[in-house]
Symmetry: D2
Subunit: 144 residues, 4 copies
C-alpha cells in the first residue's frame, strides 16, 4: 500500500482530476518505471542480450518518461493542463511501445512478460486520465 | 564545454537527427533543468514566496520534463519516433509555460529572468528538432 | 501491488541481496519519492507557505535521492557494492532529515504526517539493506 | 555556456559553498549524466555488446546518481550538510567506478574514452566540494 491517495487528499486545494484516478496513475507510473529498469537489467544478464537491444532502449526511455509523469501528477497537475495532456500522451506512447516489444519476448523471458503487464496498466491509467473533463476545454480551445 | 556532441558522434550507428541539433537540444534541456531547479530554490528564499507559488510549481514540472527529454535524446532518439515527437511537444509546452511565468517576475527577480532565458532556448531547440524530416513520415501516417 | 519482487526474481542472475528486502526497499523509495513530491506541492498551497520553506526543500532533495536509489536498487545492486552502500547512506539521511522536519508540522498538516511516515519506512528499509552481508566485506576492506 | 553560475548568484541567500565550485560541480554532474546515458546507448549498438554489460550498468547507475546530485546542488546544498556530504561521496564513487570501467574500453570505443573523461571531471569537482569548510564541522561532530 502506498501513501499516494491519502496524501493527495490531504492537500489544501483539490486537483482538477478525480483523486482516485490520479493516485492510480501515479502508482502505475512508478511501478512501470521500476519494472522497466529491472527488465532492462535482466535483459542485460541474458545470454541473448544482442537480440534484446531494442527492448533495453525502450525500457530505459519508458522508465524516464514514467518517472517524470509520476512527478508531474504528484503535483496534482494543477497549473498547466496542456502540459499534463502532452506528457500523458508521451507516457501512453512510451508504455505502449515498450509493452509491445516486451510482449514479443514474453514467452522466453518472464521479466519481459511482467514488464509488459506493468506498462499496459500504466498506459490504461494514463489513457483514463486523458478522458478527464479538464482536458475537454483544451481540445475545444485547440479547435479540435 | 560539454562532451555531448563528441559522444553522440562516436556511437556506431547514426541517429535519425542532425547530430548538432540533437546535441544542442540535449545541452539546452540540462541547462533549463538546472535553471528551473535553482530558480525554484531561489523563489523559496524570497520574501514574496507566497506570490511565487505558480513559478515554483512550473519550475519543478519543467525541470522534470527537461531531464527526461535530455535522457531520451541522449539515446539518440532512434527507436520510436512518435514517442520522441510527443515528448518534445511536452517539453516545448513545459518550457514555454515556465518561461512565460518567469518573465512576469523578471524585473524583480534576476533568477527568474535567467530561468526564462534558459527555458526559451530549450523551447527553441526542441521546436527545431520537431521540424526534422524524421517526423514528417509520422505526421503523414497520422493522416495530418 | 507492484511488480517489483516478481520481476527481480525473474532475472537470470541473483542479486547479492535478499530479494524480498530489495523489493521492499525499492517500493519504499518510490512511495517516499511520490509522498515528498506531493507534500512539497501541498505545502506550497498552504497559507503558511513561508514557514514551510525548509520542509519544501528537504522534500525535494529527498524525492530526488529516493528516485535515484530506487533506480540503482532496481538494477539489483550487483556491480559496485561500495556505490550502493554510499547511496543507501545518503538515502537514509535524506529520509531521516525530511521525516524529522515533516513531523514538526504533522499536527497542523496531515500531508506532512503522511510524508513523515513514508520517509521513516524508507529509512528503515534502507537501513535493513545496509546490514546485508554483502556490505561486511566492504567495511573489512575499508579497515573498519 | 550554461546559466548555472549566474542563477546561483542571483538567489537572495548565499550558499554554504563557493559559488564557482558549486556551479562547476553542477555542470560536471549534468555533463557526466548525459555522457553516461549516451555511452550506454552506444555500447548497446556495438557488436561486442555482450562484453560491455558491466559498462552499461555502471553508466546507468552513474547517470542516475549524477542527475540527483546536480538537482540537490542546484538547491545550493543549504539545508542538510550531512545529506550533501553523503550524496557527494556516492557520486564520487559512481564516477570513479564508471570511469575505471570505461577506461578499459577506451582504445576500442571512443565513446567510452569520452565518458571516462566526463566522469573523471565530475569526480574531481565533487571531491573539491567535499573539501569545503562546511563539511569540517560535520566531521568534527561525527568524531572524525
Amino acid at each position: 500500500m502506498t501513501h499516494t491517495r491519502e496524501i493527495l487528499e490531504a492537500a489544501p486545494s483539490v486537483p482538477g482530476f478525480d483523486v482516485e484516478d490520479l493516485a492510480t496513475a501515479i502508482d502505475a507510473c512508478t511501478d512501470a518505471s521500476v519494472a522497466c529498469t529491472a527488465c532492462a537489467d535482466a535483459d542485460l544478464a541474458e545470454d541473448d542480450v544482442a537480440s534484446l537491444r531494442v527492448c533495453i532502449e525502450l525500457d530505459a526511455d519508458c522508465a524516464d518518461i514514467c518517472s517524470a509523469t509520476a512527478r508531474v501528477l504528484s503535483r496534482r497537475a494543477r497549473y498547466d493542463v496542456l502540459l499534463v495532456q502532452r506528457l500523458l500522451q508521451a507516457c501512453v506512447r512510451a508504455c505502449a511501445s515498450c509493452a509491445e516489444e516486451c510482449e514479443r519476448h514474453a514467452e522466453h523471458h518472464r521479466h519481459c512478460a511482467l514488464c509488459g503487464e506493468a506498462c499496459r496498466t500504466c498506459q490504461r491509467t494514463c489513457e483514463k486520465l486523458l478522458q478527464a473533463e479538464a482536458f475537454e476545454q483544451v481540445q475545444a480551445l485547440a479547435g479540435g
